[in-house]
Amino acid sequence: MMEFFNNHKKLYLTALGLFVGLTILVAIMPAINNQNNNSPLPNAEALSEEAIQGKAVYVSNGCVACHTQQVRNIEMDKVWGRRPSIAADYADNHRTDFWRNTATLMGTERTGPDLANVGSRQPSAAWNLLHLYQPRAVVGQSIMPAYPWLFEEKDELEEGDVEITVPDEFRKGVKGKIVATEDAMHLVAYLQSLKQVDLPEAMPAPEFLYKRQPKNIADAAAGGGEDMGLDGAALYAANCQSCHQANGEGLKGAFPPLKGSPVVTDDNPELLINIVMNGYDPRPEYATMPAVGANSNLSAAEVAAIINHERTSWGNNARKVPVAEVQKIIDMLKQTAKK
């Protein structure tokens, strides 16, 4: 036996052979297998030209250091997408170019939110641009870097320019108009393209594991189901706060205030529920509101919790809407939409 250890050729070749053999088994074969046996889902859209360039901006600035793009098959990841990510979701990633490798961008660190479905969750271009220019202008406690170099300062707008409205405290002496560069527009196009694709009918979605037990079911039933024990403030924080802000005052010139808003405090909640579910864009001075409720599949109980929070906070003092009434209005809205 020691003879073998004293022969450098035999020793090193054995070690190398063992290592290469295991490498083929656990890395190369599974990689090839995954590459060849998965194709994009039938309703998946290929990235647009702008989105492809936006992805390059995303890669080049190392966004993957803090943002994952994977919904794991565990219940706690349910906030990031409707279903767990599957191999097919990544199948359309190919080598970037001669110099650069494939960028699957799954990530290993979630310092910031997961972005696998951010295109559905936060599609507003106005919000994304302002957030890129200065994240703390929209999310006060954010620690994301600001990307002012994706914007330029202009005295006069030219055709096709997209100006962003930055609150004064974040303008930092910039006098002119702040205009998004092509890079910024491309990056936003890429972020908007990040949407979970619906699985084909025949294909069951993988299950979320490690399920939470629903909170206080018994209590909610006993309490007449007014808000099902849901925390309206938390739901507001998760779904609405990044635009309308924690104080309900919105951002001047970008996102309207909910505090004192006649739409929010109206005794008839129909328009409010319609806006929450299907979005809104009647006023040119404000950004377009995306269909938050529909995109995130909010239930009637969740919508009720959110609007009741909005109707009773920041000095607003409207009646609380029961879940049953919200359910009725949502059903009615669906009916009219179909017609």
Binding site: F19, V26, A27, I32, G62, A103, L105, E109, S142, P214
Partner: protein, 626 residues
């Protein structure tokens, strides 16, 4: 799981570390308890870590009880022994009473012979000693209060080829540069967690600087330092000169070039696509690869021509590490299996093999040489070294995918990785045992040496850091810790606690031998303690904060941004710990300067002889002057 692994380490840990771990566990236990109180519904999820922590807490009094039992039993045993001895004494006294005069005289004479001593002046006579020739030197006549313990000085060793010395010093010098550079970047990046608007320059933005930091300390600092130390070990244990010095210089230049170009390109926004540690694009990483191939060839030729019969275990580890790293780089950069999830599978494999097969394997090879050298005794067991070697290859190769547990890569591959992670206990425990048993009987040397403390810390973290990795890989713990800063803490415990400390130990061991100049003991001490304490301040808050953040996500129902706010104090502590670590690197750089930079001291004898030979001075004839 982590908690259990820690209880195993306790008997081996010094009191300071033990205290820290107890504190950490208590903190973890209280937070777990409060989380449970807050939310009864997640009890089923909480039960796993909760139970584990409870068991650990129960083990503490059990260990204490066991200790008490041993103490008590020992006292009882002594008691019985004392009674026995008294009985024997009584018997002996009775026997003495039976002796007659003659026999007693015989015994007395015997005693006189045994108690005879020399007076101590047989050779010198009545005169007091004189020391005209100066046979005793370096006596400290002023008995100052000593604030710093004097450490043993480096031994004078047979000369090393000055050309090889130069090469090694260049490797270690450039490595030191990259350590200071890379950790300056790391420090700045850490500060950005606390002050995100520190600057608004694209070249200095977080996403670009983070890989600059990781790659600079990987390929710049650790790799160059390892290779430098390796260029000392490989020929030495083969008992032969290095095959080619030129090859060594080429490796040095190529690797430095790779890190320079890599750093610039990352800051300019050119990277390979986001896979950790393969952010350098292929033409840049190729320089590194060629550097490795050249050195592999060089080392293999040296070993092939060795003058010893056996191949010392260091050379197993070192050469295997280089071979494997070349394979790893090829797998990572060849494009034929990188589409879709192929990229992710390869990424998991690559990032972990880079750490385990390059840094860990190579460094272990160095430790198998430098540790016995510094203790001046052979390694405890050759066989354990061999077991650790083969089991490391067998298990480590499998574990890459544990970075993607619960992701879209096949469940079975994740399971293989988790099983492999558990198997890592075998090489880690056998390696640690081997090193600690080598220390056995020489513990007193630790306090008198400025290199051994570095090795000791490295060994402790080899054990705890590696087993922590095992604990993190399980699905139940991954659920909490994955995606949080716990991973960042783990990577610093290992790459810093293990690799950097071992490398420093090796550097302080050989540089004084190469240059004949030792670093100031006080600054070595400051370097050690700042690095060590800094790392604790860095990692413990991140582990704690990471756990809390994971539990926060697990509980759900709250806005993500609140989990960012939750981390703020822990990120601040990380920045403080990081600053300590960074300062210690500046001190290390100063120590390197003191060791390498020639100090001008005039040797009277040599200078006199040289001046004689120069013939510039008129000779004074002392004899005729009289």
């Amino acid at each position: 799981m982590k908690a259990i692994s820690h209880t195993r380490t306790w008997p081996l840990l010094p009191p300071l570390r033990r205290a820290l771990f107890v504190a950490l566990l208590c903190l973890a236990a209280t937070t777990a308890a409060s989380a449970q109180a807050d939310n009864v519904t997640t009890e089923s999820l909480m039960s796993m870590p909760g139970i584990i922590i409870t068991i650990t807490l129960l083990v503490i009094p059990l260990v204490a009880a066991l200790f008490l039992v041993v103490v008590k039993a020992n006292a009882l045993f002594k008691n019985i022994q004392a009674r026995k001895d008294t009985d024997e004494a009584t018997c002996f006294a009775a026997y003495l009473k039976t002796l007659n005069e003659e026999q007693l005289e015989e015994l007395n004479k015997h005693r006189e012979h045994r108690e005879y001593h020399l007076s101590g002046q047989e050779l010198s006579g009545p005169f007091s000693p004189e020391d005209d020739k100066g046979l005793l030197s370096g006596i400290n006549e002023q008995a100052n209060i000593r604030f710093i313990e004097a450490k043993r000085h480096a031994l004078k060793r047979p000369g090393i080829d000055p050309k090889l010395s130069r090469l090694i010093l260049w490797f270690l010098g450039t490595a030191t540069f990259w350590l200071v550079f890379g950790t300056s970047v790391g420090e700045y990046v850490g500060i950005k967690f606390v002050a995100p608007d520190a600057d608004h320059l694209s070249w200095l933005s977080f996403g670009r600087l983070r890989p600059v930091h990781t790659n600079a300390v990987f390929w710049g600092w650790s790799s160059l330092a390892m290779l430098g130390l390796g260029y000392y070990v490989v020929p030495r244990v083969s008992n032969i000169q290095i095959h080619s010095l030129k090859a060594g210089w080429w490796t040095l230049v190529l690797i430095n070039a790779a890190v320079v170009f890599g750093t610039i390109s990352l800051m300019a926004g050119i990277n390979n696509g986001g896979g950790e540690y393969r952010e350098y694009i292929w033409p840049i990483q190729l320089l590194f690869g060629i550097g490795l191939i050249i050195t592999l060839f060089n080392f293999l030729r040296t070993v092939a021509h060795r003058k010893t019969r056996e191949i010392y275990v260091s050379n197993w580890y070192i050469i295997a590490a280089i071979m494997f790293t070349i394979v790893i780089s090829l797998v990572a950069y060849i494009p034929y299996w990188q589409n879709g999830l192929g990229e992710t599978v390869v990424q998991g494999y690559y990032m972990h093999q880079g750490v385990g097969m390059w840094f860990m394997l190579f460094t272990l090879g160095l430790v198998y040489y430098y540790l016995p050298q510094q203790l001046n005794k052979p390694i405890y067991s050759y066989s354990l070294g061999i077991l650790a070697f083969w089991s490391q290859i067998l298990f480590y190769t499998l574990i890459g995918s544990h970075h993607f547990v619960f992701s879209a890569i096949p469940w079975s591959l994740q399971t293989v990785a988790i099983v492999g992670s558990a198997g890592m206990a075998i090489p880690v425990i056998s390696g640690t045992t081997n090193f600690l048993m080598t220390f056995k009987g020489s513990w007193h040397k630790v306090s008198g040496s400025y290199t051994l403390p570095f090795f000791l810390v490295g060994i402790i973290f080899y054990f705890t850091g590696s087993l922590q990795g095992t604990a993190e890989a399980f699905r139940s713990t991954n659920l909490i810790w994955h995606f949080t800063d716990f991973t960042v803490a783990h990577s610093h415990l290992t790459m810093y606690g293990i690799i950097a400390f071992f490398l420093w130990g090796g550097i302080y061991a050989i540089v004084p031998r190469l240059t004949g100049q030792e670093p100031p003991l006080i600054t070595v001490g400051i370097h050690f303690w700042m690095a060590f304490v800094g790392m604790m301040f860095y990692t413990i808050p991140l582990m704690l904060g990471g756990t809390l953040r994971g539990l926060f996500w697990l509980e759900g129902g709250k806005a993500f941004i609140d989990s960012v706010v939750l981390m703020a104090p822990y990120w601040l502590w990380r920045a403080i710990g990081g600053s300590l670590m960074w300062t210690s690197h500046l001190i290390f750089a100063f120590n390197m300067y003191r060791m390498i930079n020639p100090r001008k001291t005039v040797n009277i004898n040599d200078t006199a002889i040289r001046q004689l030979n120069d013939g510039e001075y008129e000779l004074v004839d002392f004899a005729n002057e009289k």
